[in-house]
């Protein structure tokens, strides 16, 4: 018991717990929808995009999460649009985007000095890299994610179950799908920062089993 209390006295542990709890709420809500819509690899795919964004942020000497959020949102929307327009399974598009983003990240890494443990930590996760502002941002984004989920719950349900019917009944599928993609991006970025992109992917697998 004393060891646990001692452990909890460390600031980085407190941040990790707060951040982990916040993200687990949004990830638990979003994961089910993603898995049912064949977007189960999105966490992994957006994680790779996040890595490419991180390398870019280091290159430009900017804060990683500020750079990665808009880039990952754009990637999520591109995946959604291509998947809907071409009628391909989203997981195929995700695989293409993920591989491309990883390659881009590696190329930028090779041409930039100053990469070291940060890249490693970002890819595979480190609670030591989290700052106070990261925790606050994660909590804000989680509240936003939960809010979007509650407001759009019925429509998300309809779109997930039967997108054609939802479109035929003139539900604004496009806007809701974009909102969902943005939501996914928030969660993916926050999760990346905390526990590495593989953790989010594992979470999606968990959701799949649960469903």
């Amino acid at each position: 018991m004393k060891e646990i209390v001692d452990l909890l006295s460390y600031t980085f542990i407190q941040r990790a717990i707060l951040c982990g709890i916040a993200i687990s709420f949004s990830a638990a809500l979003i994961g089910v929808i993603l898995t049912l819509k064949n977007y189960s690899m999105i966490g992994h795919g957006l994680g790779e995009v996040g890595f490419a964004a991180l390398t870019l942020a280091v290159l430009l000497n900017l804060p990683p999460i500020i750079v990665s959020i808009p880039i990952v949102i754009i990637a999520a929307i591109i995946i959604m649009i291509i998947s809907q327009k071409k009628g391909e399974s989203a997981d195929i598009i995700i695989a293409l985007v993920a591989t491309g983003a990883l390659a881009l990240g590696v190329i930028i890494t090779a041409f930039t000095s100053g990469f070291g443990t940060d890249t490693y930590n970002y890819m595979f996760g480190s609670i030591l890299t989290m700052t106070k502002s990261d925790v606050i941002l994660s909590i804000i984004l989680t509240i936003l994610s939960i809010g979007i989920y509650i407001v759009f719950y019925n429509r998300l349900f309809l779109i997930t179950f039967d997108e054609k019917y939802a479109k035929a009944c003139r539900n604004k599928c496009y806007i809701i799908s974009v909102s969902n993609s943005i939501n996914n991006s928030f969660s993916s970025c926050c999760w990346n920062e905390n526990d590495g992109n593989n953790a989010y992917f594992k979470f999606n697998c968990f959701s799949c089993n649960y469903c």
């Binding site: 089910v32 759009f152 719950y153 309809l158 019917y165 035929a168 003139r170 469903c211």
Partner: protein, 220 residues
């Protein structure tokens, strides 16, 4: 009152023309059956009317609010394995895009009426994936009816239903048409039922081959 007007409609998939030169007008309270052989373009016409397929040429003029249309699609029931109960799925049909995401007391009352009409009270708490093909079909029909639309568009709704349930479905649709003045457009192959309900027939084979009452229709 004219609800729907289809003018010179043409739809193609890649280099294949699915339907062309389709013209007809739908008036309020009409019961229209689209008939035709497999691949004649019935489903394409329905998908174009509901906005799922974009026409290459021509246009569709709708004179009612988009909220007042409901659609029953031809669904692959084998893929319908979803972790939700029948009740959740039926209730999802209530949604109208300008309303808040909450169900009203009235929605719940309509739900009770619809499940009673379709005799699916015992299915309401069962997962859709656990139901038989015919039961799933009835749940999806209930979802279309719960909107209480002015225009109901159905694509082969009796597929997978047994004889009694098919009869019951046609009786429900007829009641909705006569008592609530619900306009119905339905693609169907149930020719026996057509003789009983005497709808307006639109026979399709890429284009409209016949448009009139059932007495004057001489088959495909």
């Amino acid at each position: 009152m004219t609800l729907l007007e289809v003018e010179n409609l043409k739809v193609s998939y890649s280099n294949h023309t699915a339907i062309e030169n389709i013209n007809f007008v739908v008036k309020e309270g009409e019961y229209i059956c689209l008939v035709g052989e497999n691949g004649s373009g019935k489903s394409t016409l329905i998908k174009t009317i509901v906005g799922l397929v974009k026409p290459e040429e021509g246009k569709i003029n709708l004179n009612i609010s988009l909220d007042e249309i409901s659609y029953f699609a031809q669904t692959n029931l084998k893929d319908l394995n979803f972790p939700a109960t029948s009740k959740e799925i039926i209730m999802s049909g209530v949604q109208k895009h300008k309303k808040l995401p909450f169900y009203t007391k009235n929605d719940k009352q309509i739900y009770e009426q619809v499940i009673k009409q379709l005799k699916i009270q015992d299915l309401e708490n069962r997962r859709i994936g656990d139901l038989s093909g015919g039961q799933k079909q009835r749940v999806l029909i209930a979802r279309s009816l719960i909107r209480q639309p002015k225009l109901l568009i159905l694509d082969e709704p009796s597929t997978g239903l047994d004889y009694n349930i098919t009869k019951e479905l046609y009786r429900i649709l007829e009641t909705q048409n006569k008592e609530r003045k619900m306009t119905i457009i339905m693609a169907t192959h149930d020719l026996d039922e057509l003789n009983e309900i005497k709808p307006r027939i639109i026979s399709i084979a890429k284009t409209v081959k016949y448009d009139g009452n059932i007495e004057g229709w001489k088959g495909f």
